[in-house]
Amino acid sequence: MNHTEDNWLYEISPKRKLIDLNFKEIWRYRDLLVLFVKRDITTVYKQTILGPLWFFIQPLFTSVIYTLVFNNIANIPTGEVPSFLFNLTGITAWNYFNECFSSTSNTFNQNAALFGKVYFPRVIMPMSKVIAGLVKFGIQLLILIIFYAYFLWQGFSISPNTNILLFPVYVLLMALMGLGFGMIISAMTTKYRDLTVLIGFATSLLVYVSAVPYPVSQVEEKMPKLAWLVKMNPLTQIIEGFRYMILDEGVYTSLGLLYTIAVSIFIFILGLLIFNKTEKNFIDTV
């Protein structure tokens, strides 16, 4: 072998380019990604009796509570659609975003022990969480379909519209947004832990700003001054759009979707950049 002086495989140095994602390397570790996904799925409910049934229980109970509080007590109308189904749809979508976000937002702190002992492209870890979350999302989607069928059989006039073709787009948007925000928060909490406190209650409040338990039309009607806040929230667009394509109920604009796509991609790229910058030295300050 005849090496020239600069023929190095790679170099470890303090400086790093702004965008320094080594896709070749990530590809080389693809088996690890698969194994992490498998691990996350199989180990969550080990030594529980109900196992994956727990995936059903959380959205069902939440939907029941929402229906009781928001629709029965507060009388929020949900149009032609049964309130329970309306809530279940919103929660299913919200849950996937929330899963992506919360499981990736503590990547660095939670895996400090592992990251401190061995190198692999760190981004594999949050990516695996997002993919593993798809399984949970799939199961929750199944329960949604079961109730959908039940309500159809009961004689409610509900049907999806052609927007259903955008289904993969919405899933991808939720993943990108959750992952992007998760990576940003994860990177920002390695040295100063203040944000972790905020995140705990912020996500539970975000549900209300993202139009999960009510249709967007209600905000416009009852709080016209604050409606912009809900409508500018890209998550609202996702939740409302998700409900629109499945239940044919709500507001959908192509402009809103484009806006959400742009924001999601921006957040995701920003997340990647911050994550990459942090991964290099975070172990010193975590």
Binding site: M1, H3, W8, Y10, P14, R28, Y29, D31, Y119
Partner: protein
């Protein structure tokens, strides 16, 4: 031959103390310098990495200007005291954290083994964990699949391989972890003292495997250990770190001598000032030395000769039932034998004294070749008065214990006089 790994001027700075508002102001200042395109102001400061010195600054240089090159097939042993920067260096090499300045260039894939069984999930079975751990260390699925039988056999945990790892004993976990790691095939392997675990049989197996890797397969290995035995056995080159500086790079035996020499001189000089001692402080060992039968001070001993260990002390209160104990410890931490006046003569009473000398006479020194140290303790009726490890480091270099002109080859245990009668 070309160079496979090259470290150029690498330094690593750490902050001392805790993260809080103080660090925030430094971070803001650093950021302010950065956006104006100026150099990090805190790179100019930083104390020398001397663990026992008083912290005078906020920053410390864990490593400073380290340069070295490794050629393919070389086994580089990295030695140094606790906190000299060994593990920091390995962390930089294995890309866990980036150097503050300087760069490391490599032509090969580096796999690091800073701990065995990294990323084991307790709920997964041994087999599943082999795949997971292998992938974490950089192997592909097909690679692992082709070696799985070998790995299981090497670990010696065949019976438990389909049982969750949480049911394993800690030793079994280590065996499984090392088995995976030993079957890694990177161009450069970085290993941190993982060999110090497991039972004797497994350690032997592990060392054997390491030797195969480097000699048989021409793998480049960087190896950190406190065990000079395995350094000597495995390495072809050594790097001695002291207080974050590279003290010596080159021949293994020379490196080991420099390391041991440094260690001896430093410890001995400071016995009276050392703080790593237990006890009540009223009684204190101040100095220890060894003289042979010609009254010469020695550090290299011969087995079978007479030696006197002179132990100086100071004592501030009257002590009853005093017993002085010398433990002779080898470099693996095993106590080979001990001397204690409580058993060999009787306990004594000590008066208040500014300084005194205790002599411990060993008429026929019973240790075979090797490096040893003495762990010194003083007991009284009140309990432990003073207790301090590594007070005296010495080596035994041969000797004629049996007066037969023949030297016992085995380096284990102690030498005892014996006679054989044959009918």
């Amino acid at each position: 031959m070309s160079v496979i790994l090259k470290a150029e001027n690498i330094s690593k700075q750490y902050r001392l103390g805790t993260v809080g508002t103080g660090t925030l102001s430094h971070d803001l200042n650093r950021w302010w310098h950065q956006i104006r395109g100026k150099e990090d102001p805190y790179l100019k400061v930083g104390a020398v990495n001397d663990r026992s010195a008083k912290a005078s600054e906020d920053y410390v240089w864990a490593l400073r200007d380290i340069n070295f090159e490794v050629k393919p097939g070389e086994v580089l042993g990295i030695i140094g005291k606790n906190g000299a920067g060994k593990s920091t260096l390995l962390k930089l090499l294995s890309r866990i954290t980036a150097p503050t300045t300087g760069s490391i260039k490599t032509r090969g894939r580096i796999a690091s083994l800073l701990e065995v069984g990294t990323g084991f999930h307790p709920e997964l079975t041994g087999r599943e964990n082999i795949f997971l751990n292998g992938a974490i260390l950089g192997m592909t699925k097909t690679e692992i699949r082709s070696k799985i039988d070998e790995i299981i056999a090497f670990s010696g945990c065949e019976m438990y391989i389909d049982t969750p790892v949480k049911r394993y004993s800690s030793g079994m976990r280590v065996r499984l972890g090392f088995a995976v790691a030993a079957h890694l095939e990177p161009e450069i392997l970085v290993v941190d003292e993982v060999l110090a675990v497991g039972d004797a049989e497994f350690q032997k197996k592990a060392i054997g495997k390491m030797q195969d890797l480097s000699t048989g397969e021409g793998r480049t290995v960087l190896f950190v250990s406190h065990n000079m035995g395995s350094i000597k056995q495995l390495c072809t080159k050594s790097l001695v770190l002291e207080n974050g500086f590279a003290n010596f790079i080159g021949d293994v035996n020379e490196g080991i001598n420099i390391y041991l020499g440094k260690k001896n001189k430093k410890k001995e000089k400071k016995l009276a000032d050392r703080n790593d001692r237990k006890g009540k402080k009223s009684f204190k060992f101040t100095q220890i030395s060894c003289v042979d039968n010609k009254k010469q001070l020695v550090k290299s001993l011969l087995s079978g000769e007479q030696y006197v260990f002179n132990i100086n002390y100071q004592n501030k209160t009257k002590l009853y039932a005093v017993a002085i104990r010398l433990l002779f410890v080898d470099n693996k931490g095993v106590v080979r034998f001990l001397c204690n006046n409580k058993f060999s003569s009787s306990e004594v009473t000590f008066d208040r004294k500014e300084s005194g000398v205790i002599k411990c006479v060993i008429p026929k020194f019973p240790l075979p070749n090797g490096n040893y140290s003495i762990h010194l303790t003083c007991f009284s009726s009140e309990g432990i008065e003073d207790d301090i490890e590594n007070v005296f480091n010495f080596e035994v270099i041969g000797g004629d214990f049996f007066n037969t002109g023949k030297e016992q080859v085995s380096k284990d245990g102690v030498l005892v006089n014996n006679d054989f009668l044959f009918d």
